[in-house]
Symmetry: D2
């Protein structure tokens, strides 16, 4: 099984820069986490953007959509900021024959207390067992991407209530 991983930025990859008294998106943490997880599957990783998801543009989403569509892999994992994860998921819905799982983190992977490693495992676990479609793996749950929303105030993902 080959997993194609696309990273787009978000809290997952944030780094603290003392010189700036600020954080910025750093290099993808996925490889380090997969190494700590001692995984035994093959993967390719491509960093598409390094942005907070609130700053993703239509052009960014067009790029994500293009790279996913053109990938030879059936299994696609996308790390993404949580604020507009559902928006990006929506532009991927029309892609056929691929299992696409988006995940992210509420706390940067570089923090001692972070959901990043667990979320990555959550997404990888779902990726291997789900049929083709677009999904979100957050808050310990697997959601069909068009049936979930981020509850910003509460800080977690939940089903869209009718």
């Amino acid at each position: 099984m080959l997993i194609q991983i696309f990273t787009t930025g978000g809290t997952f990859d944030k780094v603290y820069y003392d010189a700036l008294s600020d954080f910025q998106i750093g290099e993808p943490m996925v490889p380090a986490l997969l190494q700590e997880a001692r995984v035994q599957f093959e993967y390719q990783l491509e960093s598409l953007t390094k942005k907070d998801s609130l700053e993703l543009t239509d052009a960014d989403r067009a790029l994500i959509q293009e790279r996913v569509s053109k990938s030879a892999a059936r299994h696609i994992l996308i790390t993404h900021g949580t604020d507009t994860m559902t928006t990006t998921a929506a532009v991927l819905q029309h892609i056929k024959g691929k299992v696409i799982v988006l995940t992210g983190a509420m706390q940067p992977a570089r923090m001692r207390d972070s959901d990043a490693a667990f979320n990555l495992g959550l997404a990888v676990g779902a990726l291997q067992t789900l049929p083709a479609g677009v999904y979100i793996a957050m808050s310990g749950r697997i959601f069909e991407a068009n049936q979930v929303q981020k509850n910003r105030a509460a800080g977690y993902f939940e089903p869209i209530t009718e």
Copy 2:
């Protein structure tokens, strides 16, 4: 979705005791990891044993089998030492109507560099998407429990080669 979690010990829960100059199985680390993962599902956790899996007896396995069978939950997650994970999985194969996923860790969850959090996510992700059966979530992969073996020398799980 309610997940019933049974912990049996293993590397996952090892603690270093300076007074003993030794590692021993401590309290389950699953609750702490689920809290860091900021999960939003309900679960119940029961600690069945605190043993290295090489030390599990037939009586221990009978207990695990009984508790799993009697659980009202459909979704069962078991943390277990990696050395005899497949042995315990085998005694659970006959249980119908439940999705049972076993996982563990090659490095204790209390270590800075550990696969525990990722593996827990891997198991939780698979648990929500798999049909009834017994599975092992290790080394980044989801295996049918009777089709996998631990490659002790290499330190990972792999399909049983014909």
Copy 3:
């Protein structure tokens, strides 16, 4: 030996707030670090401000000076942002009969890779062995506070070159 600890904020105590897409100063991390360090001395901790040191005002420094002067303790440890640590140290120079050590961190204590715990130890070690005066403990070294500067570009503290 009783150590009086005053915290003023800085990178040391930064927390990532997903809702704000930003880092802010959180509760002092010193107690958690001292607990992990399994220390056996008594201390009292008072949080004076929760600011980036670039934002400290004359009023803030007057408060720090007052609290240090009025403390019954001989041993004073101050955690502080690194950018203006020397400025605050300067206003404390006139205080007699106290060993005052300022420290901080280039990476928040809540990060996996942080100098915070080491720096805290560095400061506590120096505090017990130095004569009365004002010192800075950073970059693995103990400096007389009026003989050191922060090399902002390089990201470390060094002696002021003549």
Copy 4:
């Protein structure tokens, strides 16, 4: 300032080996910790033994004593198991003109919750400020090495009570 560091093993450097279901002394963690601490002093590190201090022999102590005596450095830091740290310190007492600080850890540096980084800072801080002699930096305190004992039951170092 050049610090000569000698590592002898102990809990500080313990690693968990799944294949052995056991821990063993691994490669010294001091370099990794000094890098995370972003220190700006020069040091040389030599691994003399990789043993639990209960297993150190007279020959081991003779080696430690020889290497310390022959070092050109004035500042010597020794990482050591905590159980017989005072015994090794005793054989170094006759060495003149050097500041020798021994430290160790109650929890391996590779654990998430460890005193190792703080203790290393504690020792480095004291090393720069103390006069020639032999000292132990543990439990947040700096002790003259012949005036301290490890309280095994309580798990910390304390002054020898008269």
